[in-house]
């Protein structure tokens, strides 16, 4: 459920007002753009199988994406995605609940319209699982300018979700979401490509997980603890800015770097650093390696152990709101076939990607450990394996 909520993301009136002048200005700019020679993405189809194993949970399923041009100015795309989830995360284990399995299915469809050097895009995504339904509509414009050295993108998304509770058939709450995105891709030299991406996301509505609890010190025995329902704010606004660079090395390798800064109204600040390296071989094989580091501070209303019942207006014990960091190392191996074209397809590639992620929590404790007084249990940590196998064809 949480994945669906985050996959969509967010609503807030303040950000809407803030960006109205910006949106108006960019629309005006768009109207002034000269007609030129933009291009739509190549026709392609991808079939992917994904697998995530970590923290007692397994998530796997397919994803199929098709992009197809209809004439010179219109392209359509569609995506079918499934998460089959099974197991029991630490939250489920420590709450005493049993293992579970559920399925989330996501369908999306989009259209791109090319006008001169600009592309207008619209899409709709709907996802469904037994206790969460999410809908998202997106609109975007992408403009190539300065002799195609600069691409400016602007996007807006609106989402509306319904949260339900499997243990209470009468429970039904809504979440409204809005996203504002601005991107800039800039050619800096014949070997250097850079990107700036900025996004504001706002949520409004029921942002809790209806199943999760916070814990507080048992007043009758301070070495033990009791549970109470979490209470989250009804709004959240976040801002993120990312800078990326991609450099072509003389021996036909590519090196990439990325930094992202994030902050939100819940008090979370996060930094993400990612480095990558791509080495193509002459026979069609391409090998990529990557390293990613992520760190965040906890939300203002997060605590692993609250001092007493109802000690704050807002209380959360979601480990994703705690102070933690994670490190990822990834490899990707691709083989391009039919590089000179085939009868029915232009080219294709088969790909295997593997990422290993280590999560280290700084103030979220492992309650599965017995024999510790409340608040002194070992800190929780786990690692995850992420595998992707996919086939891509261009036609």
């Amino acid at each position: 459920m949480r994945a669906a909520r985050k996959a969509g993301a967010a609503a807030a009136v303040a950000a809407t007002e803030l960006f109205k002048p910006l949106l108006g200005g960019l629309c005006l700019l768009f109207a002034w753009l000269p007609s030129g020679a933009g291009v739509l993405p190549d026709d392609r189809a991808d079939a992917l199988y994904h697998s995530y194993k970590g923290g007692g949970v397994e998530v796997n399923g397919p994803s199929v994406l098709v992009l197809k041009k209809l004439g010179q100015n219109v392209a359509v795309n569609g995506n079918y995605y499934v998460d089959s989830i099974s197991g029991a995360s630490i939250d489920v284990v420590t709450s005493g609940a049993s293992k579970y399995s559920e399925k989330r299915t996501e369908l999306s469809a989009g259209v791109d319209y090319l006008h001169g050097n600009s592309t207008l895009s619209a899409s709709y995504t709907g996802s469904d699982e037994n206790d969460y339904q999410a809908n998202t509509a997106t609109f975007g414009v992408s403009m190539d300018m300065f002799g195609n050295m600069t691409t400016v993108t602007m996007g807006y998304a609106r989402g509306w979700d319904t949260v339900e509770n499997n243990t209470d058939a009468t429970f039904s709450e809504d979440v409204d979401r809005q996203n504002y995105q601005l991107g800039l891709i800039q050619v800096l030299s014949s070997n250097l490509l850079t990107e700036m991406d900025f996004e504001v996301i706002t949520d409004e509505g029921y942002l809790n997980n209806p199943y999760r609890s916070a814990r507080y010190i048992n007043p009758a025995d301070p070495t033990t603890y009791l549970y109470e329902a979490e209470v989250y704010p009804n709004t959240r606004t976040s801002s993120a800015i990312a800078l990326r660079a991609l450099y072509y090395l003389p021996w036909r390798d590519a090196a990439s770097g990325e930094y992202r800064y994030f902050e939100d109204t819940w008090g979370i600040n996060a930094h993400t650093l990612e480095l990558g390296y791509t080495h193509p071989f002459d026979n069609g094989w391409v090998l990529e390696g990557s390293y990613r580091y992520y760190t965040q501070s906890g939300a203002d209303f997060y605590s692993d152990l609250f001092p007493r019942q109802d000690s704050q207006n807002f209380m959360g014990r979601d480990k994703e709101l705690s102070t933690f960091d994670d490190n990822s190392v990834g490899f990707r191996l691709s083989y391009d076939f039919l590089r000179n074209g085939g009868d029915t397809i232009d080219k294709g590639s088969i790909n295997l990607a593997y990422d290993h992620i280590w999560f280290n929590y700084h103030d979220f404790r492992d309650l599965r450990s017995a024999g510790y007084p409340a608040g002194s249990e070992p800190l929780y940590q786990f690692s995850a394996d992420v595998v992707q196998i996919y086939l891509s064809v261009w036609f």
Binding site: S142, G147, N148, I185, I241, A242, L246
Partner: protein
Amino acid sequence: MQTRFLLPVFLAALLAGCGSIEPWVKPYERANLADPIMRFERDPVSSAYLVHVYQAREGARGAEGGSGGGCGCN
């Protein structure tokens, strides 16, 4: 908080307004940029999945890329 983030937005708008800037990397100098390895997002289906993996387990969200565009080599 928002003021700090508006700076790059205004810089982008300023840049967009300079319509007379001549490209300093000529089209015939973009062979390396046109190489398939020079794409921020080579495989959208894979990139979208990894974004989903991290978004579901981290507090941060947004600005993950995939903003479209390219190297201007076409």
